[in-house]
Structure formats: C-alpha cells, structure tokens
Symmetry: D2
Subunit: 134 residues, 4 copies
C-alpha cells in the first residue's frame, strides 16, 4: 500500500541556485500523504468528521538530501505509512530522480484534537479502523 506520484520540477519550485528550494519537498510530502489518504477514500475533512480531529498534524519531520533536482527534472515520490505507534504514525517518503534516491524524508503525524487550554492540541489514539486501512 503505497502512493507513487510522478511530477516535473517547475520553475517556481527552484531557488536562485537553480535547484529545488528545499521547503517544497515538505509541501510535496504533505500532498503525497493526502493522495495516500484519498486512495482509501479519506481526506482531511472525512478524517475530521469521523474522528473529531482538526487534522493529522505533524509531531516531527525530517529529510535527508543526497542529490539535487532542477527545473524540468522528472521525479517520482513514493510514500507509505511505515509504522504505527499508539499516539502517532510515521509516513515515509522517498524522492527518486532517474531511478536514484535524491531525498528521503518522514513525517510523524498524530490525530490532533483541540486541547484543554486554548491554542493547545492533544493527540488522540490512532484509530484501529484507520490502521486497518493501511
């Protein structure tokens, strides 16, 4: 169960050095995770309504860069949920260019609901029904 997303690096994705401005990788990670959800008929909205959360928010994330991508490059982003923990789950992302890994990243996400005090959030247990889908 994974999501494969092939796309082209666009002009606006690159910085003045002519390579991808790195925060964009996290934008793509987020979009790829959404695609994975939609493969199972879920979206942030459905998750919110079904589980009373404001979203599957980030607890931790990271990326390691082993090669650059530039305007016009064709890349593929492969995404899957790698691990479930009681209060979080980890999404793994790998970006390939011409068959070579150029970025490896992860997102550790939680089912976040409003917390007891304003402006705070708390993590709910990851629902079994959600785990079962992936």
């Amino acid at each position: 169960m994974e999501n494969r997303w092939a796309f082209t690096i666009e002009w606006g994705d690159c910085d003045a050095a002519g390579i991808v401005f790195y925060p964009n990788y996290f934008r793509w990670f987020d979009a790829a995770f959404q695609q994975l959800l939609r493969q199972r008929g879920l979206g942030q909205r459905e998750l919110g309504e079904r589980y009373g959360i404001i979203g599957t928010g980030l607890i931790d994330c990271g990326a390691r860069f082993t090669g650059p991508a530039a305007y016009g490059d064709e890349v593929e982003l492969v995404t899957r949920i790698e691990r479930f923990e009681p209060l979080s789950f980890t999404v793994r992302h790998i970006v390939f260019k011409a068959g070579r890994t150029i970025v490896e990243g992860f997102e550790k996400r939680a089912f976040l609901a409003p917390g007891e005090s304003e402006g705070r959030l708390r993590a709910l247990p990851v629902p079994e029904a959600f785990k079962a889908l992936f």
Copy 2:
C-alpha cells in the same frame, strides 16, 4: 551570535485547519539563516563568489512540533549555528510563541559546488574564515 526574528503568522501561512502549514517553518528557517549571514555581511551571492559554491545547500533537516501557531499569532524565531563539522555545519532554529517553544528545528548545510558528473553536487570543506565569523 544569533538571529532573533519576530513576525506575525499571516493568513496565507495557515492551512484549512487554521494553523501554520508546516512546510512554511522551513521557509522561515531558510530566511532566518540568510538573516544570520547578512548580520555578518554575507549573502548567498557573496558566499558563491568568494568560495566558488552554488550555495550553502541542505544535507539534512528536521523539525519537532510541540504547539500550534495560528493566524495573527506573534512568534519569534531564534537561530544560531550550533556545530561545525569538516564538511558541514548545523543551524539550530527555535520558534517561540508567548515565551513557549512551539517548534525546534535544524538544518545541516554544506558548501556545495558542482560535482564531477552533471546534476551532482559535492561538499567542500567549510572554510575557516566562515567558521571564524560565527
């Protein structure tokens, strides 16, 4: 030697859950690192010309999120270079909201020059003169 940057979370920084869309934190990390460089009279362009690099590119990065920020929130981002290694250096970023840490992040950066084959980059030793500035 650190950079302190106070700013307001804007409408366009937030997602449909009303909190910061997390890739923006990396955009701010990058801008804060540039501010730190400019405090020392450096910019990406000066670094490029002085050291023959295309930029101080990313090798690794990450962020941990312990609280949300929403539209209109005042935050402060404190940034400093935490560690030098032979071929890289690590920039530490902390985002405060109302005195409380809400995001801790890092960027591991290298002095990147064009590599031997096209589309590859290689890391040069971090110049002593650069280390001395920070």
Copy 3:
C-alpha cells in the same frame, strides 16, 4: 490611512533567474492587507464573526511589473483601500525599491458568505462600519 511594510527579499522568494517569483507579490499583497486590517483591530477571524462571512475574498486582482527585485533587495510595500463599491472594495498596492516603483497591484475584494448552493459564495454589501474605519 495606509500600511507601509519594509522587508528584504529572501532566497526562497526568488526563482532560478535570481529574481522574485511573481506569485510571491500576491502573497505579500494579502499579508499587507491583513496588516492594514490589524491596524484597525480587525483580522479575518474578527471579520468573520462580526459579519458572518468566510473572509474578504478576491473577485479580481492584478499587477504590473516595471522593475525586478532580487535576493537581498530592500523593498517597501505601501497599501491602502482605494475605493468602495456597494459589493466590493479595491485595495491598492505599490512596491518600491530604492524609491522607485517596481510593482503596482490591486485586489478587488468582497465580503463573501456561503451561497445558496454548496460550493458557491455570494458577496454581501460592504458594511458601513467597515468603510468608516478606512
């Protein structure tokens, strides 16, 4: 009654030609409009609660570019509400670099509320109390 916002063009704001990637100007226009609202103690949230709208959404916008801005450039964005019409108002934005106009833009905005059919919005009359503030 205007908003003046001085800021520095950052690395991530520029494209591979080394100049500002133009959609960013609209991001800044939106943020400057929010700053103008906040000068009067308003935010999108307050507007929403007070007037039953989902926001002051865009009907029309545009920008003319007469000079480039690049990484490290200091610019100033001057913003004011230029005209009120029954169902909309027009925000004027001018970006200056070294005293010279480099971008002139506008946003025509409306007080948008949910429409009769799903996924549609309708414009409410611009409240007199709002006009009086500006």
Copy 4:
C-alpha cells in the same frame, strides 16, 4: 495549441477559510505556461540559451475569480498564448471546476534581457521563431 492540466487541490493550497489561497493560482499559471513551452521542446533554460534572455518575465498579470475551489476539488487549467505584440505576448489561463469556469487569468510576458544599468531589465522583440511555434 493549448495546454490542459488536470489536478487536485491539495491541503496546503488552501487557507484558513478552506478555499484556495489565491496567489497559488499564479503559481499554477506559471507552471502551466512552462508546460506549454515544454510541449514545444522549450524550457526557460533553452529560451535563455537560444535568445540571450534571463527568462520570459512578467510585465502584467491578472485574474478574476467567479467561484471557489477547496481541498480535494478536481480542477482543470487550460492555457494558450492568446496574442503576440512586438515586445510581449499574452498567455490566457482558465480554471474549470466541474465544467464551470472559476478563474480567468492572463500573463503578459516579455523576453527579458539584462538592461543597461544594473538591476534593470529590458524587453527584446519576441522572436519570430518563437511565434511560429505557437
């Protein structure tokens, strides 16, 4: 000769009102124009090398919004070059959702080369060979 691009509105494309943050439409306009160029075997880099320009930069742009798009919506962006003038050309963009036009926009672009004084750009005549392609 047009470019048709169907895509899904992602979570990070939307603002706290749950609809597309409008500067993203210009990001998509730019990407769609690049796709149109690539259909003809051109990219910004090829244009730069062939014609001695830094890019096909913006002189003027605008968009009118007649309906919202939200997370998960499927949209189609149709793009073509509408008009050539001696020193510029106009790209027309229309965004459709469920067969209905929700955004109409344009980009007036020029072949921009470095100008006589630093930090200025000048428009070159639009090459006949370029016109012939579209």
